[in-house]
Each structure stands twice: as structure tokens, then as C-alpha cells.
């Protein structure tokens, strides 16, 4: 599913968060968005997903501009896992199906079929509080995938994890996207994460956000993460992104 953003602007009352932003995302592509904290990255994702309305400009997801259409075509994965503590891991993963009116048993069967592939087999009935950080994040991602929408909007999905788990989860997400390619927008404050997981990385400036640099990732979602991120071309791209990030903060 394609995403086309033209002349996008957004403000909260007097505060301008995004200014004249253009972005084209081809179907099946993954675009990473990096930028300083508070630059409006999350707002941009919420705008694309139809959770907010732009102040100026247009956003089309699969050619449709109406917020309700954008909402029905994109699955939003927020920074925090936001698993509902009163539901089991399986019932959390199946939320979108239940919301669509599927019966409990059927929704559980459909979501449960993916637990094995996500390394969650045997944890279907576990309460979220009893899961590790990495597992919670996997359930949250599963919940996003089960929604069955063509566009994934991932808002710093691994920000809350420790460094080792985060690296593991990046590798895991890369494998998941290799096996089941999706169009995705990935917001991250981590240049390395964005460069590893995306085809292209857009560097945003401080608020109001605009694009200051666009980089092509050298080895998107490579099977060997360690080799990929230590490759000289990757290191050079990362340095280029960091420089752009610094310039954008001025």
C-alpha cells in the first residue's frame, strides 16, 4: 500500500509541529524516520494513521485521504506495548479481530496460530505482567499484524527495551518482515535501528519537523545484523545520518 504525503503541516494551537513535509512510500517499502526528541515524529505517524487531521496539506494511504480510510488501512504500534492487563497475551493479540466482531474462540484460534512463529508458544494464557519486556513487545507487534492492515506504523517499537533485548528484537523484526513483507513507517530515535530495519531513512529537523536528509540503507534487514551494522558502508551512512541530525537540530 502506497503512502503519499504532500505539503503536510500540523500545529497544536500555536505550536507548529510539522512544516511542509513531503514523503512518498512505495508499496512494500519500509521508511525509517529519525529526528530529535519532541520533533513531531509520533505526531507524523498519528497523522498518517488517521488518528489526527493535518492542519495543511494532504496524506493519502492507498490513494485515500479521509481520516477514517487512513485509520482502516493502517495499524499503529505505539511506543509502549499498552497490553491490557486484564487480558491474556492471546486475547491482547486478538483484540483487532474481536473488535471486528469475530467470536472469542475464532479470534483466539486465528491469533494463536501465529504464536509459535513469534516465539510465544506456551504463553498464550499468560498475563502481560508475567511476560518479559521482549515478549510483551512481540505480543504488541503480533497484535499489530493480526489487525491485517496493509500499512504498519511503528512508533519507536523497541525504545523501552534494554540494549541487548533491543538488538535481538531488531533482528527478530527484520526476519519477520523478510518472511512477511509489509509497507511500514518506522519512527526511531536510534539511527542504527532505522538504518538496519528500513530501505530509506529520512532525517527530520527539530520542531517544526521537516526532512533535512534522505539516506538509502546499505543492507536493509540483513540476516546477519552484526555483520551488517559493522560494514563500512553502514558505518558511513550512520555517520552521515548523525551529521544531518546534528545540523537539523540547529
Amino acid at each position: 500500500m502506497s503512502v503519499s504525503i504532500r505539503g503536510l503541516g500540523h500545529s497544536y494551537a500555536e505550536l507548529r509541529t510539522i512544516e511542509r513535509l513531503d514523503l512518498e512510500l512505495e508499496p512494500g517499502g519500509v521508511v525509517g524516520l529519525v529526528g530529535p526528541s519532541g520533533c513531531g515524529k509520533s505526531t507524523l505517524l498519528e497523522l498518517v494513521c488517521g488518528l489526527r487531521e493535518p492542519t495543511t496539506g494532504t496524506i493519502a494511504v492507498g490513494g485515500a485521504e479521509a481520516a477514517s480510510e487512513r485509520l482502516s488501512r493502517s495499524a499503529y504500534m505505539p511506543q509502549r506495548d499498552l497490553l491490557l492487563p486484564w487480558y491474556s497475551a492471546l486475547d491482547n493479540a486478538a483484540l483487532a479481530l474481536r473488535n471486528r466482531g469475530l467470536g472469542k474462540a475464532e479470534a483466539r484460534r486465528e491469533a494463536g496460530a501465529l504464536f509459535e512463529r513469534f516465539g510465544l508458544a506456551g504463553f498464550e494464557r499468560t498475563a502481560p505482567a508475567a511476560l518479559s519486556g521482549g515478549m510483551r513487545q512481540r505480543v504488541a507487534f503480533l497484535r499489530t499484524l493480526v489487525a491485517g492492515k496493509p500499512l504498519l506504523a511503528l512508533d519507536e517499537p523497541f525504545a523501552a527495551l534494554d540494549a541487548i533485548t533491543r538488538a535481538e528484537m531488531q533482528e527478530w523484526l527484520a526476519a519477520a518482515l523478510r518472511g512477511d513483507p509489509r509497507t511500514a513507517l518506522l519512527v526511531s530515535h536510534d539511527v542504527e535501528e532505522a538504518l538496519y530495519l528500513s530501505d530509506r531513512v529520512l532525517v527530520l529537523s527539530a520542531r517544526p519537523a521537516r526532512i533535512v536528509a534522505e539516506l538509502r540503507a546499505p543492507a536493509p534487514r540483513a540476516a546477519d545484523r552484526d555483520a551488517a551494522i559493522t560494514d563500512p558502508t553502514f558505518v558511513a551512512a550512520r555517520e552521515q545520518a548523525l551529521r544531518a541530525l546534528h545540523e537539523g537540530m540547529r
Binding site: 495499524a75 486484564w86 483484540l95
Partner: protein
């Protein structure tokens, strides 16, 4: 252990001191009263035993008023809280009135209720419900409003309707507050029931206290107070038990 032991020890010490002061006649001397008007805990205990069927009969009447009144308050209070949560207009219009209504000492309208509803169970239920309504409604509304806005956004992106957001996120979030409000209401319920009986009744613990007062049956009056307090404690215990069964994720 310590949580139970310390209050039990303190209670035993207080009752022991009272027993000594009353049985030695010191207490009656201090108040300058005949000894039979200042019963000892042992005398109250024997009244509890000897008048057990009379006390049980009247306790049943009062308990029924408390439980049914609390039930009415729960139905009306939760419904009203949901309504105020759903509509900002209703909340803005009604909430100040709900708070202001608490400045009316509800017990003083007991005689009016008797005029309207007669001497049956009606005015007692109305009084208990009126007293219990406020803590239940206010706590439930607070609970509903404390739902995580991020979780609500997530639910929207998972295609949830307004009703599904209420059922799957807001209502479970509010449950602990609802139980808190219900426990406060359970403490107030006997006050409503007793005042209802004082204004017009021919049975119930409140009625028994009044008739015993006229006949200077002080020991049995104390015994009635003990039973009344036990009823309230049992009701709070029951609510706490239900909370533990329902709110399993805390």
C-alpha cells in the same frame, strides 16, 4: 499477622479496661449513674447471646435494607457515571449538582421520604441508596476518566467502536475505583438504614435501638450496635472479596 494482631490486641486492651471499670462500679460512679445503665462488655456479650433470635430477626431486616439500597445505588450510580462519561454536556450540567447535593444532610429528608413512601421498606431503600449514590458515582466517573488515552488511541487504530473502547478499556480501568466507591458506600449503608428505621418502622436494628432506649435496655442497645457494626464489616468484606475475584490483574 502483625496487621491483624496489633488491632486485636488494642481492642482486647480497651474492652478489658472497660470491663474492669464497669464491673468495679468505677464507670457508673464517674458518670454518677445507676450501675445497670453502664453495662460491662460481659453483660453486653450475654445480651448478644440471650437476645440472639431477636437481634438476628431485626438484623435480617436491616441487612436487607442495606444490601438492596446499595444495589440500587450501584445500578443508578454506575449508569449515571457512564452517562456523564459518555456526554460532556451531561457531565458539565450534572456533576456540579451531584456534588452540591451532598451538602443536603440526607438524613433530614428521611421524614419526607416516609411521608411519600410510607412505613415499608421503600423509604429505607431510598435513604440507603441516596447516601451510597455519591461515593459510587464519583469514584466510577474518576475511574472511567483515568483510562490511558494512548490505549484508547491504540483501540481506535484496532477498529474499536466507542462501545468496544468502553467495554474493553475504560470499564476495566474503572473497576478498582468502582470497588473503592462501593466499600465507602458499604460503610455508609447502615447509617441510611438506621435513620430510615428511626423515622418510621416496626422492625430492624434501628427500630430496636429506639424501643430499647425507651425501656432503658442499655446492654441490648450496645449489643445492637455490635451487630450493626458487624453487618457493615461483613458487607465491606464481601465487596473486598468480590474485588479480589474480579480485579485479578493488580
Amino acid at each position: 499477622m502483625r496487621r491483624w494482631l496489633l488491632p486485636v490486641l488494642l481492642l482486647a486492651a480497651l474492652v478489658g479496661a472497660w470491663q474492669l471499670a464497669a464491673s468495679s462500679g468505677a464507670l457508673a460512679d464517674v458518670f454518677d449513674l445507676p450501675a445497670f445503665l453502664v453495662p460491662s462488655p460481659a453483660e453486653i456479650g450475654s445480651s448478644l447471646w440471650e437476645d440472639r433470635s431477636l437481634l438476628a430477626e431485626n438484623a435480617w431486616v436491616t441487612l436487607r435494607e442495606m444490601v438492596l439500597g446499595l444495589g440500587c445505588a450501584l445500578i443508578v450510580g454506575l449508569g449515571f457515571a457512564a452517562l456523564m462519561h459518555r456526554s460532556e454536556t451531561i457531565r458539565d450540567a450534572a456533576y456540579p449538582l451531584v456534588v452540591a447535593s451532598q451538602t443536603i444532610p440526607i438524613v433530614v429528608i428521611a421524614p419526607i421520604l416516609v411521608v411519600w413512601f410510607g412505613f415499608g421498606i421503600g423509604p429505607k431503600l431510598a435513604l440507603v441508596a441516596l447516601i451510597c449514590f455519591f461515593p459510587i458515582t464519583v469514584n466510577a466517573l474518576d475511574g472511567l476518566r483515568s483510562a490511558d488515552p494512548e490505549a484508547i488511541k491504540l483501540m481506535r487504530s484496532l477498529d474499536a467502536s466507542r462501545w468496544q473502547i468502553f467495554r474493553r478499556v475504560e470499564a476495566p480501568t474503572a473497576l478498582p475505583s468502582v470497588f473503592t466507591g462501593t466499600k465507602i458506600a458499604a460503610v455508609l449503608a447502615p447509617i441510611g438504614a438506621v435513620f430510615g428505621e428511626w423515622v418510621g418502622a416496626n422492625s430492624g436494628l434501628g427500630h430496636l435501638i429506639l424501643t430499647d432506649n425507651a425501656h432503658l435496655e442499655v446492654a441490648r442497645q450496645f449489643a445492637t450496635v455490635v451487630v450493626l457494626s458487624a453487618l457493615a464489616l461483613a458487607l465491606i468484606g464481601l465487596v473486598a472479596l468480590a474485588e479480589r475475584r474480579v480485579v485479578t490483574w493488580r
